[in-house]
Protein backbone atom coordinates (compact mmCIF):
# COMPACT_ATOMS: atom_id res chain seq x y z
CA UNK A 1 0.00 0.00 0.00
CA UNK A 2 1.51 3.25 -1.04
CA UNK A 3 0.54 6.09 1.23
CA UNK A 4 2.19 8.64 3.43
CA UNK A 5 2.37 7.05 6.89
CA UNK A 6 1.55 9.42 9.75
CA UNK A 7 2.44 6.78 12.31
CA UNK A 8 4.81 3.89 11.74
CA UNK A 9 5.93 1.26 14.23
CA UNK A 10 8.94 -0.96 13.79
CA UNK A 11 9.58 -4.16 15.77
CA UNK A 12 7.25 -2.93 18.48
CA UNK A 13 7.18 -5.22 21.52
CA UNK A 14 5.36 -4.37 24.73
CA UNK A 15 5.57 -6.31 27.98
CA UNK A 16 3.29 -6.07 30.99
CA UNK A 17 5.77 -7.55 33.47
CA UNK A 18 6.66 -10.89 31.87
CA UNK A 19 3.64 -10.93 29.59
CA UNK A 20 4.32 -10.01 25.97
CA UNK A 21 1.22 -8.03 24.98
CA UNK A 22 2.42 -6.75 21.58
CA UNK A 23 4.67 -8.94 19.46
CA UNK A 24 6.90 -7.40 16.86
CA UNK A 25 4.19 -5.14 15.53
CA UNK A 26 4.91 -3.36 12.29
CA UNK A 27 2.07 -1.06 11.29
CA UNK A 28 1.82 2.02 9.08
CA UNK A 29 -1.13 4.34 9.75
CA UNK A 30 -2.01 6.54 6.79
CA UNK A 31 -2.40 10.28 7.15
CA UNK A 32 -5.91 11.83 7.08
CA UNK A 33 -7.75 8.56 7.00
CA UNK A 34 -9.70 6.53 9.53
CA UNK A 35 -7.83 3.40 10.55
CA UNK A 36 -9.66 0.81 12.62
CA UNK A 37 -7.91 -1.67 14.87
CA UNK A 38 -10.03 -4.76 15.43
CA UNK A 39 -9.51 -8.00 17.31
CA UNK A 40 -10.91 -10.06 20.18
CA UNK A 41 -10.79 -8.87 23.79
CA UNK A 42 -7.30 -8.85 25.21
CA UNK A 43 -5.56 -8.96 21.83
CA UNK A 44 -3.69 -5.71 22.45
CA UNK A 45 -5.83 -3.21 20.52
CA UNK A 46 -6.04 -0.59 23.25
CA UNK A 47 -2.45 -1.24 24.27
CA UNK A 48 -1.32 -0.52 20.71
CA UNK A 49 -3.46 2.62 20.56
CA UNK A 50 -2.02 3.86 23.84
CA UNK A 51 1.49 3.42 22.47
CA UNK A 52 0.86 6.22 19.98
CA UNK A 53 0.70 8.89 22.68
CA UNK A 54 2.65 6.92 25.28
CA UNK A 55 -0.29 6.62 27.62
CA UNK A 56 1.10 3.22 28.56
CA UNK A 57 3.93 4.99 30.38
CA UNK A 58 1.45 5.46 33.22
CA UNK A 59 1.15 1.68 33.69
CA UNK A 60 3.49 -0.01 36.15
CA UNK A 61 5.93 -2.75 35.09
CA UNK A 62 5.65 -1.91 31.45
CA UNK A 63 8.48 -2.29 28.97
CA UNK A 64 8.34 -1.09 25.39
CA UNK A 65 10.87 -2.06 22.72
CA UNK A 66 11.17 -1.02 19.09
CA UNK A 67 10.36 2.26 17.42
CA UNK A 68 7.27 4.36 16.87
CA UNK A 69 7.68 7.13 14.35
CA UNK A 70 5.28 10.02 14.14
CA UNK A 71 6.35 12.24 11.30
CA UNK A 72 9.77 10.59 11.31
CA UNK A 73 10.38 11.28 15.01
CA UNK A 74 10.76 8.23 17.24
CA UNK A 75 8.39 9.03 20.09
CA UNK A 76 9.93 6.31 22.28
CA UNK A 77 13.11 8.36 22.65
CA UNK A 78 13.64 9.11 26.36
CA UNK A 79 13.83 12.85 25.81
CA UNK A 80 10.45 12.98 24.06
CA UNK A 81 8.31 15.87 25.32
CA UNK A 82 5.23 13.93 26.46
CA UNK A 83 3.09 17.01 27.10
CA UNK A 84 3.69 18.13 23.55
CA UNK A 85 3.16 14.57 22.23
CA UNK A 86 -0.21 14.19 23.98
CA UNK A 87 -1.36 17.52 22.67
CA UNK A 88 -0.47 16.50 19.11
CA UNK A 89 -1.94 13.02 19.60
CA UNK A 90 -5.29 13.46 21.33
CA UNK A 91 -7.37 10.69 22.78
CA UNK A 92 -11.06 9.96 23.20
CA UNK A 93 -12.12 7.18 25.56
CA UNK A 94 -14.80 4.54 25.81
CA UNK A 95 -17.05 6.51 28.14
CA UNK A 96 -17.21 10.27 27.75
CA UNK A 97 -14.98 11.60 30.50
CA UNK A 98 -16.21 15.16 30.86
CA UNK A 99 -15.03 17.00 33.95
CA UNK A 100 -17.54 18.07 36.58
CA UNK A 101 -17.30 21.59 35.25
CA UNK A 102 -19.23 23.82 32.90
CA UNK A 103 -19.15 23.13 29.19
CA UNK A 104 -17.05 26.26 28.79
CA UNK A 105 -14.51 25.21 31.40
CA UNK A 106 -14.30 21.68 30.02
CA UNK A 107 -13.25 23.15 26.71
CA UNK A 108 -10.96 25.74 28.26
CA UNK A 109 -9.22 23.19 30.47
CA UNK A 110 -6.73 21.95 27.89
CA UNK A 111 -5.96 25.46 26.73
CA UNK A 112 -5.01 26.38 30.30
CA UNK A 113 -2.91 23.26 30.88
CA UNK A 114 -1.01 23.83 27.65
CA UNK A 115 -0.93 27.58 28.21
CA UNK A 116 -2.46 28.19 24.84
CA UNK A 117 -4.46 31.35 24.14
CA UNK A 118 -4.79 33.87 26.93
CA UNK A 119 -7.04 36.42 25.30
CA UNK A 120 -10.70 35.84 26.17
CA UNK A 121 -11.90 36.52 22.66
CA UNK A 122 -9.38 34.04 21.22
CA UNK A 123 -10.47 31.43 23.77
CA UNK A 124 -14.11 31.99 22.89
CA UNK A 125 -13.32 31.71 19.20
CA UNK A 126 -11.43 28.44 19.78
CA UNK A 127 -14.36 27.05 21.81
CA UNK A 128 -16.78 28.09 19.09
CA UNK A 129 -14.63 26.43 16.41
CA UNK A 130 -14.29 23.27 18.47
CA UNK A 131 -18.03 22.99 19.07
CA UNK A 132 -18.80 23.78 15.43
CA UNK A 133 -16.48 20.96 14.34
CA UNK A 134 -18.53 18.46 16.34
CA UNK A 135 -21.89 20.03 15.43
CA UNK A 136 -22.64 21.19 18.97
CA UNK A 137 -22.31 24.95 18.67
CA UNK A 138 -25.92 25.68 17.73
CA UNK A 139 -27.19 23.41 20.49
CA UNK A 140 -24.89 24.65 23.22
CA UNK A 141 -23.93 28.25 22.42
CA UNK A 142 -26.43 29.58 24.99
CA UNK A 143 -25.68 26.90 27.57
CA UNK A 144 -21.92 27.16 27.92
CA UNK A 145 -22.16 27.73 31.68
CA UNK A 146 -24.22 24.56 32.22
CA UNK A 147 -22.50 21.58 33.77
CA UNK A 148 -21.18 19.28 31.03
CA UNK A 149 -22.57 16.26 32.86
CA UNK A 150 -26.10 17.45 32.13
CA UNK A 151 -25.58 16.65 28.45
CA UNK A 152 -26.64 13.39 26.79
CA UNK A 153 -23.94 10.73 26.46
CA UNK A 154 -23.61 11.43 22.74
CA UNK A 155 -23.26 15.16 23.37
CA UNK A 156 -20.71 14.44 26.10
CA UNK A 157 -18.69 12.29 23.71
CA UNK A 158 -18.85 15.03 21.08
CA UNK A 159 -17.73 17.50 23.72
CA UNK A 160 -14.76 15.26 24.54
CA UNK A 161 -13.83 15.24 20.85
CA UNK A 162 -14.18 19.04 20.73
CA UNK A 163 -11.94 19.27 23.81
CA UNK A 164 -9.28 17.35 21.89
CA UNK A 165 -9.76 19.40 18.70
CA UNK A 166 -9.26 22.71 20.49
CA UNK A 167 -5.67 21.71 21.22
CA UNK A 168 -5.04 21.43 17.47
CA UNK A 169 -3.81 17.84 17.36
CA UNK A 170 -2.62 16.04 14.22
CA UNK A 171 -3.82 12.62 15.32
CA UNK A 172 -6.88 11.55 17.29
CA UNK A 173 -6.99 8.16 18.96
CA UNK A 174 -10.45 6.82 19.75
CA UNK A 175 -10.76 3.84 22.09
CA UNK A 176 -14.22 2.30 21.60
CA UNK A 177 -15.74 5.79 21.40
CA UNK A 178 -19.27 4.55 20.71
CA UNK A 179 -19.55 1.61 23.07
CA UNK A 180 -21.67 3.61 25.54
CA UNK A 181 -23.87 5.11 22.82
CA UNK A 182 -27.13 4.03 21.20
CA UNK A 183 -27.19 3.18 17.45
CA UNK A 184 -28.33 6.63 16.28
CA UNK A 185 -25.71 8.42 18.38
CA UNK A 186 -23.15 5.91 17.12
CA UNK A 187 -23.98 6.75 13.51
CA UNK A 188 -23.71 10.46 14.27
CA UNK A 189 -20.23 9.98 15.75
CA UNK A 190 -19.25 7.90 12.71
CA UNK A 191 -20.49 10.72 10.46
CA UNK A 192 -18.33 13.08 12.48
CA UNK A 193 -15.28 10.84 11.93
CA UNK A 194 -15.86 11.11 8.19
CA UNK A 195 -15.73 14.90 8.42
CA UNK A 196 -12.77 14.99 10.81
CA UNK A 197 -10.58 12.76 8.65
CA UNK A 198 -10.31 15.55 6.13
CA UNK A 199 -8.09 17.37 8.64
CA UNK A 200 -6.90 14.74 11.11
CA UNK A 201 -5.45 11.25 11.18
CA UNK A 202 -7.89 9.06 13.11
CA UNK A 203 -7.22 5.70 14.71
CA UNK A 204 -10.18 3.90 16.23
CA UNK A 205 -10.23 0.77 18.32
CA UNK A 206 -13.53 -1.01 18.09
CA UNK A 207 -15.18 -4.28 18.99
CA UNK A 208 -17.95 -3.50 16.59
CA UNK A 209 -17.04 -5.02 13.24
CA UNK A 210 -19.82 -3.23 11.41
CA UNK A 211 -18.50 0.03 12.76
CA UNK A 212 -15.01 -0.74 11.50
CA UNK A 213 -16.48 -1.67 8.11
CA UNK A 214 -18.66 1.44 7.93
CA UNK A 215 -16.41 4.08 9.38
CA UNK A 216 -12.83 3.20 8.47
CA UNK A 217 -10.68 3.39 5.35
CA UNK A 218 -8.04 0.94 6.60
CA UNK A 219 -8.32 -1.92 9.06
CA UNK A 220 -5.73 -3.80 11.07
CA UNK A 221 -6.56 -7.12 12.72
CA UNK A 222 -4.70 -7.92 15.92
CA UNK A 223 -4.69 -11.36 17.48
CA UNK A 224 -2.80 -12.35 20.64
CA UNK A 225 -0.64 -9.26 20.30
CA UNK A 226 0.30 -9.84 16.66
CA UNK A 227 -0.81 -7.77 13.71
CA UNK A 228 -2.24 -10.54 11.54
CA UNK A 229 -3.39 -8.43 8.62
CA UNK A 230 -3.58 -4.80 7.61
CA UNK A 231 -5.29 -3.51 4.50
CA UNK A 232 -7.95 -1.35 2.96
CA UNK A 233 -11.19 -1.92 4.83
CA UNK A 234 -13.16 -3.16 1.81
CA UNK A 235 -10.47 -5.74 1.06
CA UNK A 236 -10.36 -6.91 4.69
CA UNK A 237 -14.14 -7.32 4.86
CA UNK A 238 -14.71 -8.69 1.34
CA UNK A 239 -11.65 -10.81 0.76
CA UNK A 240 -9.19 -11.04 3.64
CA UNK A 241 -5.86 -12.67 2.81
CA UNK A 242 -5.47 -14.44 6.14
CA UNK A 243 -7.76 -17.27 7.25
CA UNK A 244 -7.54 -16.04 10.85
CA UNK A 245 -8.89 -12.64 9.80
CA UNK A 246 -11.72 -14.29 7.86
CA UNK A 247 -12.62 -16.47 10.83
CA UNK A 248 -12.66 -13.52 13.21
CA UNK A 249 -14.71 -11.13 11.08
CA UNK A 250 -17.13 -13.93 10.18
CA UNK A 251 -17.77 -14.66 13.85
CA UNK A 252 -16.03 -18.03 14.14
CA UNK A 253 -14.34 -16.81 17.33
CA UNK A 254 -13.91 -13.69 19.43
Amino acid sequence: MSFEAKIETQNLNLYYGEFLALKDVYIRIPERNVTAIIGPSGCGKSTLLRCFNRMNDLVENIKVEGKIFIERQNILEPDMDLIHLRRKVGMVFQRPNVFDLSIYNNLRFGLRIHRMLKNKDDIMQAIKNGLEHVNLWNELKDKLRKNARSLSLEQQQRLCIARVLILKPDIILLDEPCSALDPISTLKIEELLRVLKQEYTLVIVTHNMQQAARASDYTGFLYLGELIEFGETDQIFMNPKEKLTENYISGHFG
Partner: protein, 220 residues
Protein backbone atom coordinates in the same frame (compact mmCIF):
# COMPACT_ATOMS: atom_id res chain seq x y z
CA UNK B 1 -25.38 -17.32 15.85
CA UNK B 2 -22.61 -18.84 13.74
CA UNK B 3 -24.20 -22.32 13.85
CA UNK B 4 -27.54 -20.93 12.82
CA UNK B 5 -25.91 -18.94 10.00
CA UNK B 6 -24.15 -22.03 8.66
CA UNK B 7 -27.42 -23.93 8.74
CA UNK B 8 -29.05 -21.18 6.68
CA UNK B 9 -26.19 -21.18 4.17
CA UNK B 10 -26.46 -24.96 3.82
CA UNK B 11 -30.19 -24.70 3.19
CA UNK B 12 -29.58 -21.93 0.67
CA UNK B 13 -27.18 -24.13 -1.27
CA UNK B 14 -29.64 -27.01 -1.24
CA UNK B 15 -32.34 -24.76 -2.62
CA UNK B 16 -30.07 -23.51 -5.41
CA UNK B 17 -29.30 -27.13 -6.34
CA UNK B 18 -33.04 -27.92 -6.31
CA UNK B 19 -33.73 -24.92 -8.56
CA UNK B 20 -30.96 -25.95 -10.96
CA UNK B 21 -32.53 -29.41 -11.21
CA UNK B 22 -35.87 -27.85 -12.11
CA UNK B 23 -34.15 -25.81 -14.83
CA UNK B 24 -32.10 -28.74 -16.17
CA UNK B 25 -35.28 -30.77 -16.29
CA UNK B 26 -37.20 -28.05 -18.13
CA UNK B 27 -34.37 -27.66 -20.67
CA UNK B 28 -34.28 -31.40 -21.51
CA UNK B 29 -38.06 -31.70 -21.59
CA UNK B 30 -38.50 -28.67 -23.85
CA UNK B 31 -36.24 -30.10 -26.56
CA UNK B 32 -37.90 -33.51 -26.28
CA UNK B 33 -41.31 -31.82 -26.61
CA UNK B 34 -40.01 -30.03 -29.70
CA UNK B 35 -38.69 -33.27 -31.22
CA UNK B 36 -41.91 -35.15 -30.41
CA UNK B 37 -44.31 -32.31 -31.27
CA UNK B 38 -45.76 -32.74 -27.78
CA UNK B 39 -48.07 -29.77 -27.19
CA UNK B 40 -49.36 -31.05 -23.84
CA UNK B 41 -45.84 -31.40 -22.46
CA UNK B 42 -45.04 -27.91 -23.79
CA UNK B 43 -47.99 -26.51 -21.80
CA UNK B 44 -46.78 -28.30 -18.68
CA UNK B 45 -43.27 -26.82 -19.12
CA UNK B 46 -44.75 -23.31 -19.45
CA UNK B 47 -46.75 -23.82 -16.24
CA UNK B 48 -43.75 -25.29 -14.43
CA UNK B 49 -41.73 -22.18 -15.23
CA UNK B 50 -43.89 -20.37 -12.68
CA UNK B 51 -42.49 -22.75 -10.06
CA UNK B 52 -38.95 -21.88 -11.16
CA UNK B 53 -39.75 -18.17 -10.88
CA UNK B 54 -41.29 -18.66 -7.43
CA UNK B 55 -38.26 -20.61 -6.30
CA UNK B 56 -36.03 -17.74 -7.38
CA UNK B 57 -38.05 -15.24 -5.32
CA UNK B 58 -38.05 -17.55 -2.29
CA UNK B 59 -34.28 -17.92 -2.41
CA UNK B 60 -33.80 -14.21 -3.00
CA UNK B 61 -35.92 -13.40 0.04
CA UNK B 62 -33.82 -15.75 2.17
CA UNK B 63 -30.64 -14.07 0.92
CA UNK B 64 -31.99 -10.62 1.79
CA UNK B 65 -32.99 -11.84 5.25
CA UNK B 66 -29.54 -13.30 5.85
CA UNK B 67 -27.86 -10.05 4.82
CA UNK B 68 -30.20 -7.99 7.00
CA UNK B 69 -30.13 -10.22 10.06
CA UNK B 70 -26.67 -11.75 10.05
CA UNK B 71 -24.61 -9.01 8.39
CA UNK B 72 -22.24 -11.44 6.68
CA UNK B 73 -18.76 -10.44 5.52
CA UNK B 74 -15.95 -11.97 3.43
CA UNK B 75 -16.71 -15.51 2.15
CA UNK B 76 -20.14 -15.52 3.81
CA UNK B 77 -21.09 -12.34 1.98
CA UNK B 78 -19.62 -13.52 -1.32
CA UNK B 79 -21.59 -16.74 -0.95
CA UNK B 80 -24.88 -14.86 -0.66
CA UNK B 81 -24.02 -12.44 -3.46
CA UNK B 82 -23.03 -15.41 -5.64
CA UNK B 83 -26.32 -17.17 -4.87
CA UNK B 84 -28.30 -14.03 -5.72
CA UNK B 85 -26.56 -13.88 -9.07
CA UNK B 86 -26.78 -17.63 -9.77
CA UNK B 87 -30.53 -17.77 -9.19
CA UNK B 88 -31.03 -14.88 -11.62
CA UNK B 89 -29.10 -16.85 -14.26
CA UNK B 90 -31.09 -20.00 -13.49
CA UNK B 91 -34.35 -18.13 -13.75
CA UNK B 92 -33.35 -16.88 -17.22
CA UNK B 93 -32.36 -20.41 -18.24
CA UNK B 94 -35.84 -21.48 -17.17
CA UNK B 95 -37.24 -18.75 -19.44
CA UNK B 96 -35.22 -20.10 -22.39
CA UNK B 97 -36.72 -23.55 -21.83
CA UNK B 98 -40.15 -21.98 -21.58
CA UNK B 99 -39.38 -20.13 -24.84
CA UNK B 100 -38.68 -23.45 -26.58
CA UNK B 101 -41.97 -24.79 -25.20
CA UNK B 102 -43.74 -21.76 -26.69
CA UNK B 103 -42.11 -22.54 -30.05
CA UNK B 104 -43.65 -26.02 -29.77
CA UNK B 105 -47.08 -24.40 -29.29
CA UNK B 106 -46.42 -22.03 -32.17
CA UNK B 107 -45.56 -24.85 -34.55
CA UNK B 108 -48.70 -26.69 -33.42
CA UNK B 109 -49.44 -29.85 -35.38
CA UNK B 110 -47.14 -28.90 -38.24
CA UNK B 111 -44.58 -31.68 -38.80
CA UNK B 112 -40.92 -30.67 -38.38
CA UNK B 113 -39.11 -29.92 -41.62
CA UNK B 114 -36.72 -32.68 -40.63
CA UNK B 115 -35.72 -34.51 -37.44
CA UNK B 116 -33.70 -32.39 -34.99
CA UNK B 117 -29.95 -33.00 -35.25
CA UNK B 118 -28.08 -30.31 -33.31
CA UNK B 119 -30.61 -29.05 -30.77
CA UNK B 120 -30.79 -32.26 -28.67
CA UNK B 121 -26.98 -32.32 -28.55
CA UNK B 122 -26.94 -28.69 -27.44
CA UNK B 123 -29.53 -29.39 -24.73
CA UNK B 124 -27.56 -32.39 -23.51
CA UNK B 125 -24.40 -30.31 -23.31
CA UNK B 126 -26.11 -27.40 -21.52
CA UNK B 127 -27.64 -29.74 -18.93
CA UNK B 128 -24.32 -31.47 -18.40
CA UNK B 129 -22.52 -28.13 -17.93
CA UNK B 130 -25.21 -26.96 -15.51
CA UNK B 131 -25.10 -30.11 -13.39
CA UNK B 132 -21.32 -30.04 -13.16
CA UNK B 133 -21.36 -26.33 -12.33
CA UNK B 134 -23.58 -27.17 -9.36
CA UNK B 135 -21.06 -29.80 -8.28
CA UNK B 136 -18.37 -27.12 -8.52
CA UNK B 137 -20.56 -24.88 -6.35
CA UNK B 138 -20.98 -27.57 -3.72
CA UNK B 139 -17.26 -28.42 -3.78
CA UNK B 140 -16.12 -24.76 -3.95
CA UNK B 141 -14.10 -25.79 -6.99
CA UNK B 142 -12.93 -22.75 -9.00
CA UNK B 143 -10.80 -24.85 -11.40
CA UNK B 144 -13.76 -26.96 -12.51
CA UNK B 145 -15.91 -23.84 -12.81
CA UNK B 146 -13.26 -22.28 -15.07
CA UNK B 147 -13.04 -25.41 -17.19
CA UNK B 148 -16.83 -25.54 -17.67
CA UNK B 149 -16.75 -21.98 -19.03
CA UNK B 150 -14.47 -23.14 -21.82
CA UNK B 151 -16.98 -25.81 -22.84
CA UNK B 152 -19.31 -23.04 -23.99
CA UNK B 153 -17.33 -23.08 -27.27
CA UNK B 154 -18.76 -26.53 -28.04
CA UNK B 155 -22.32 -25.25 -27.66
CA UNK B 156 -21.49 -22.23 -29.82
CA UNK B 157 -20.12 -24.56 -32.48
CA UNK B 158 -23.27 -26.69 -32.42
CA UNK B 159 -25.36 -23.53 -32.74
CA UNK B 160 -23.27 -22.43 -35.74
CA UNK B 161 -23.88 -25.79 -37.39
CA UNK B 162 -27.62 -25.73 -36.65
CA UNK B 163 -27.88 -22.18 -37.96
CA UNK B 164 -26.06 -22.90 -41.23
CA UNK B 165 -27.91 -26.16 -41.74
CA UNK B 166 -31.30 -24.48 -41.38
CA UNK B 167 -30.19 -21.46 -43.40
CA UNK B 168 -29.19 -23.72 -46.30
CA UNK B 169 -32.59 -25.41 -46.15
CA UNK B 170 -34.31 -22.03 -46.34
CA UNK B 171 -32.12 -20.87 -49.23
CA UNK B 172 -32.90 -24.02 -51.15
CA UNK B 173 -36.61 -23.83 -50.41
CA UNK B 174 -37.86 -20.39 -49.28
CA UNK B 175 -41.29 -21.87 -48.44
CA UNK B 176 -39.61 -23.44 -45.39
CA UNK B 177 -38.71 -20.10 -43.82
CA UNK B 178 -41.68 -20.02 -41.44
CA UNK B 179 -40.96 -23.58 -40.25
CA UNK B 180 -37.16 -23.32 -40.07
CA UNK B 181 -36.90 -19.94 -38.33
CA UNK B 182 -38.49 -21.15 -35.05
CA UNK B 183 -35.96 -23.98 -34.97
CA UNK B 184 -33.15 -21.42 -35.19
CA UNK B 185 -34.78 -19.60 -32.29
CA UNK B 186 -34.84 -22.82 -30.25
CA UNK B 187 -31.14 -23.42 -30.96
CA UNK B 188 -30.42 -19.79 -30.10
CA UNK B 189 -32.18 -20.20 -26.74
CA UNK B 190 -29.90 -23.12 -25.93
CA UNK B 191 -26.83 -21.16 -26.98
CA UNK B 192 -27.89 -18.36 -24.61
CA UNK B 193 -28.59 -20.92 -21.90
CA UNK B 194 -24.99 -22.15 -22.11
CA UNK B 195 -23.81 -18.56 -21.76
CA UNK B 196 -25.81 -18.36 -18.54
CA UNK B 197 -23.96 -21.41 -17.23
CA UNK B 198 -20.67 -19.63 -17.89
CA UNK B 199 -22.00 -16.66 -15.87
CA UNK B 200 -22.85 -19.07 -13.05
CA UNK B 201 -19.33 -20.49 -13.22
CA UNK B 202 -17.84 -16.98 -13.08
CA UNK B 203 -19.82 -16.41 -9.90
CA UNK B 204 -18.47 -19.64 -8.43
CA UNK B 205 -14.92 -18.45 -9.20
CA UNK B 206 -15.80 -15.16 -7.46
CA UNK B 207 -17.21 -17.00 -4.46
CA UNK B 208 -14.10 -19.13 -4.06
CA UNK B 209 -11.34 -16.65 -4.94
CA UNK B 210 -12.89 -13.27 -4.22
CA UNK B 211 -11.85 -11.96 -7.63
CA UNK B 212 -14.26 -11.30 -10.44
CA UNK B 213 -12.53 -12.15 -13.71
CA UNK B 214 -14.52 -12.37 -16.90
CA UNK B 215 -13.58 -15.94 -17.65
CA UNK B 216 -14.75 -16.02 -21.23
CA UNK B 217 -16.20 -13.60 -23.74
CA UNK B 218 -18.92 -15.22 -25.82
CA UNK B 219 -18.74 -14.77 -29.56
CA UNK B 220 -22.55 -14.40 -29.63
Amino acid sequence: MRESFEKHIKELNEEVIAMSEMVANATSRSVKALANRDVEEANRIINDDLLVNNKRWQIEEKCINLIALQQPVATDLREIIAVLSIITELERMGDYAEGIAKIVLMLGDEPLIRPLIFTPKMAEKVVSMLKRSMQALVNRDADTANAICNEDDEVDKLYDEAYHDLLMLMIKDPTLVSKATPLIWAAHNLERSADRVTNICERIVFLVTGSMPQVKVSTY
